[in-house]
């Protein structure tokens, strides 16, 4: 996996990583406070689940499942290792790109109290509007189900 592109001060910039294939899977950890009663066949999640971060480079954090599995790590255990976010949904990268979003690689170094996350990525292009978040809710599939 090539490293991500950086700006002049060494920060990851939004990008669509060429090594992340359309057939790859990315996973979004789900906080228990985002669950809601399912109606109209929806997944039972608020669109609040799919916001970008307020910190640069302002993408929606994800974990790249292919990278986790390449290391022989049990992804479900890795993703839900703390009590606040016991669930996870998955996206196919091709589906995200079909929505006009980009999927990048952003490995995170250890920064106490946070451990390193070498499998971390981001999805860019969601913005503040409800439309893209609702599309994400529609295409999300449970990976670790409530």
């Amino acid at each position: 996996m090539k490293p991500p592109p950086l700006d002049e001060v060494g920060r990851v910039v939004p990008h669509d990583h060429p090594d992340i294939g359309d057939d790859w899977i990315v996973v979004r950890r789900i906080h228990g406070g985002w669950l809601k009663d399912a109606n109209d066949g929806a997944i039972g999640l608020s669109t609040a689940s799919f916001s970008e971060s307020s910190e640069p480079p302002r993408g929606m954090s994800i974990d790249i499942l292919n990278l986790i599995e390449e290391e022989g790590i049990d992804a479900k255990t890795f993703l839900t290792s703390r009590p606040n976010y016991p669930y996870a949904v998955l996206f196919r990268v091709g589906d995200l790109r079909a929505l006009g979003l980009t999927v990048g690689f952003h490995p995170l170094k250890e920064k106490p109290p946070f451990p390193a996350n070498p499998y971390h990525g981001e999805v860019w292009g969601i913005g503040d509007a409800r439309g893209p978040k609702n599309e994400l809710r529609k295409i999300a599939e449970w990976f670790v189900k409530p």
Binding site: R29, S46, T47, S51, Y85, L108, G131
Partner: protein, 151 residues
């Protein structure tokens, strides 16, 4: 009022009991429930979303609190309230088959999404929430007419 959370160095704030006091018992219940939820959001631990997000900023919660309580009173319903990874607050109502979602991005910055009978609309809002209040009032008036027609 603010407190230090032991061991983290984080400061979190408690919304004062005196904020947006209302008169009726049901309104006081709404107010208390919403305040409690907002206090929870302001005290979320770092990394609460599984990544590296922090708690909802007090300024966002303070702006959202009075408006959420007011809309809840008009709608006569407590919303589902959610934090986002960007430090926002999202309040969602499902009223008489319609959907209202308010997102508070920060002080004096919000948007609303409404959906009813296949129609939907999304707007940016500042401090003027008359559109939301009017929409909910219209929805309730329509329900009253429907109920009268069915009687």
């Amino acid at each position: 009022m603010h407190s230090e959370r032991p061991g983290t160095g984080n400061v979190f704030y408690i919304i004062q009991d005196s904020v947006a006091s209302t008169t009726s018992a049901s309104n006081r219940i709404f107010e208390r429930q919403i305040r409690n939820k907002f206090n929870e959001l302001c005290a979320l631990p770092s990394g609460w979303d599984g990544y590296r997000s922090g708690p909802v900023p007090f300024g966002t919660a303070n702006f959202a609190f009075a408006l959420t309580e007011r809309i809840a009173t008009i709608a006569d319903a407590i919303p589902n309230i959610f934090p986002t990874s960007a430090g926002e607050i999202q309040a969602e109502w499902e009223i008489d088959g319609g959907v209202v979602e308010l997102v508070f991005y920060g002080p004096l910055r919000a948007s609303v999404y409404v959906e009813y009978e296949g129609q939907s609309e999304e707007r940016e809002l500042g401090s003027d929430f008359t559109f939301v209040e009017g929409w909910i009032s219209d929805l309730k008036a329509k329900r009253t007419l429907d109920e009268a027609a069915a009687a």
